[in-house]
């Protein structure tokens, strides 16, 4: 579904990604580990096509198309979706309007908001005064309404209290069709610091991003245990 070929990206003149290669097949969930500042968010926002992230070399292939030069809008239309870690506040735009936008005019988002106990936020301005956990819920609701084929999640658990972790986990499972054992369409790339997500869903592969490159690939659960025990560098070294 997604292939990154030798992707080099710079942000405001600084090279952040230095030759990333990655392949995600349909139905797979990949977890991206890495230290703060290693370029994980840069990778996700580059995949979504944000203009701040300049691709200086390499290509992004999505569903067989070279989308390297596509705008975020074109990528969304093709079936990509992202949950931001720190989305901007949209003044005067209510969550209800945003969900309608995401659902391309359908009322799906509102139904989901009720289902996930978030209906009281429908008339609030998007992200205005939201707590960390509320932002994450709102982001995932938007994604559920949008229903993308490739889901990019930037630390969906950060700022979420223990009680709500379970809800967030459920939402991600629904996004990724984890209830389906076969013929799963949806794929995901999830940044996780805490590994919490591994308690909620089966992930297929894990990667460590270090110094702008993906260093190793393996069973995400084993990798996470190793990172906890020996740190990112050590984990990357042993599996290289």
């Amino acid at each position: 579904m997604l292939e990154l070929k030798d992707l080099w990206v710079e942000v405001e003149g600084r090279e952040i990604l230095k030759g990333v290669n990655l392949k995600i097949e349909q139905g797979e969930t990949h977890i991206l580990f890495g230290k703060n500042g290693s370029g994980k968010t840069t990778l996700l926002l580059t995949l979504m096509g944000f203009s701040r992230y300049k691709i200086i070399n390499g290509a992004i292939i999505f569903k067989g198309q070279d989308i390297t030069a596509f705008s975020p809008h074109e990528r969304a239309k093709l079936g990509m979706g992202i949950s931001f870690q720190r989305p901007p506040t949209l003044h005067g735009v209510r969550l209800r309007d945003m969900l309608t936008i995401c659902g391309n005019g359908s009322g799906r988002g509102e139904i989901l908001a009720t289902q996930y106990n978030f209906a009281e936020f429908l008339d609030r301005e998007v992200n205005r005064g939201f707590s960390g956990g509320e932002i994450k819920k709102s982001e995932l609701l938007q994604l559920l309404a949008q229903d993308p084929d490739l889901v990019l999640l930037d630390e969906p658990e950060s700022g979420v209290d223990v009680e709500n972790l379970n809800v967030i986990g459920q939402m991600i499972k629904e996004l990724l069709q984890k209830n389906l054992k076969r013929h799963r369409q949806k794929a995901g790339l999830i940044i996780s610091h805490t590994g919490f997500i591994l308690n909620y869903l089966e992930a297929d592969k894990g990667h460590i991003l270090l110094d702008g490159k993906i260093h190793c690939q393996g069973n995400p659960r084993e990798m996470f245990e190793e990172i906890q025990r020996h740190g990112y560098e050590e984990c990357a070294r042993c599996r290289r």
């Binding site: 979504m48 096509g49 944000f50 203009s51 701040r52 705008s71 975020p72 809008h73 990528r75 969304a76 239309k77 979706g81 992202i82 931001f84 989305p87 901007p88 949209l90 003044h91 005067g92 735009v93 309007d97 945003m98 936008i101 995401c102 391309n104 301005e125 938007q142 949008q146």
Partner: protein, 400 residues
């Protein structure tokens, strides 16, 4: 009365503190009377857009003045008086405490001209305890080319009453140039509530000089919504509100758009004189190539008051200028006053956030502009909010 006239005469050449000086002699003062039936469909549409719809049942009263003549004036609610001001001043008892008390006649040449050479205006009064639920519709309309319209309005919300007024200020779609001078005095008595919504709809070469003063007594509430979304050569106004009694509240909301060639200099001053008084000045300004000066001055004279000023400006064109001048003056410890002002373009991050949700760049921009102008006003009847929303929607088409 003699004294007022004297003062006015002395101020006839007095320039205003703000705004371009206007030569009053360049405008005409004679116009023929008209009836509503004389207006062509385009004119009727323009009036409709400014909130005047005489066919509507849901109003408590209506006032329509074209150039110098009152075309329609009616109250349909027993607790409400709606009169042409020239008729009201025939009864000195009625207006003696209210004429030139909230605005000084010698403020500048425009107030002086309104006193010395008055066309007309409205007198609207809600009687004590009366809740006038449906809005009073008023429209001040200039039809004759180069006409200078001189108005004086007095609005009184008596003790415990509630009143909503929507005033449309407009020029004929066939007119290029004109001048609107409008003095408005508002008196909100103890426990009364007045919302005053003004929608402007001018021609490209029209000059507008409203002069307003508001006195709010104990627990009185005054809410002003000021909306100018179309072209106008020059609009300058700086209403001054005095919160005279405990717990009095004033809120000024402005939604402004300046197309190329337009200059809007709009502000408000609120003086908080009693404990528990609250004031808020909120403006949203968009320059599509014109110039906007958004002023605001809050003066807190006693402890226990709360006041906030918020000015947000969005510049959509390279040539646009927005100047925000927020001022706070605390004269006692124990005042709680704050302001925030921000001027800029639409953040790329916000556009791309919406694009990642499936909108094109144009759709994303328009969503953000609509959100920016979307000021939900507490306590406003749904019908008035709908008028404001419709006006904003109309202007959006032109902006994007």
């Amino acid at each position: 009365m003699q004294k007022i006239e004297e003062k006015a005469k002395k101020a006839l050449k007095k320039k205003a503190t703000y705004g371009e000086d206007i030569e009053l002699e360049k405008f005409v003062r004679q116009a023929e009377p008209v009836s509503y039936a004389d207006l062509d469909p385009e004119e009727q549409k323009r009036l409709h857009q400014t909130g005047l719809d005489l066919s509507k049942q849901e109003h408590s009263g209506a006032f329509f003045q074209s150039d110098c003549s009152v075309v329609h004036c009616q109250s349909t609610y027993k607790g409400l008086e709606v009169l042409p001001i020239k008729e009201a001043i025939q009864d000195p008892e009625k207006i003696k405490d209210y004429c030139w008390q909230a605005v000084s006649v010698d403020t500048d040449k425009y107030t002086a001209a309104a006193e010395l050479d008055l066309d007309n205006g409205y007198f609207i009064r809600a009687l004590p305890g009366e809740k006038v639920i449906y809005p009073v519709q008023a429209c001040l309309y200039i039809r004759k080319e180069k006409f200078a319209q001189h108005l004086h309005n007095i609005i009184i919300a008596e003790e415990g009453s509630e009143l909503h007024i929507i005033t449309g200020c407009a020029t004929s779609p066939h007119l290029v140039s004109g001048l609107h001078i409008g003095v408005s005095e508002f008196y909100i008595k103890k426990g009364a509530k007045l919302t005053f919504t003004m929608i402007h709809n001018w021609g490209e070469d029209v000059y507008v000089r409203p002069r307003s003063g508001i006195i709010i007594e104990e627990d009185g509430v005054f809410i002003s919504n000021y909306i100018s979304l179309g072209p106008v050569r020059s609009l300058q106004t700086y209403p001054s509100a005095t919160l005279a009694g405990r717990g009095a509240v004033a809120r000024f909301n402005s939604i402004l758009v300046a197309p190329p060639g337009s200059e809007l200099d709009i502000g408000a001053k609120v003086t908080l004189k009693a404990p528990g008084a609250k004031a808020e000045i909120i403006s949203r300004a968009i320059s599509a190539g014109g110039k906007i000066i958004a002023r605001g001055l809050l003066v807190g004279e006693v402890p226990g008051i709360k006041a906030h000023l918020e000015c947000k400006g969005l510049i959509l064109s390279e040539k646009g200028i927005i100047r925000a001048i927020p001022e706070l003056e605390g004269q006692a410890s124990g005042v709680d006053m704050s302001h925030e002002a921000a001027v800029g373009k639409i953040a790329q991050e916000e556009i791309e956030y919406l694009m990642a949700r499936g909108l094109s760049e144009e759709e994303a921009t328009s969503t953000i502009v609509r959100g920016f102008l979307n000021v939900q006003i507490d306590g406003l009847p749904a019908e008035l909010q709908a008028e404001i929303d419709a006006a904003v929607k109309e202007s959006e088409k032109a902006l994007i």
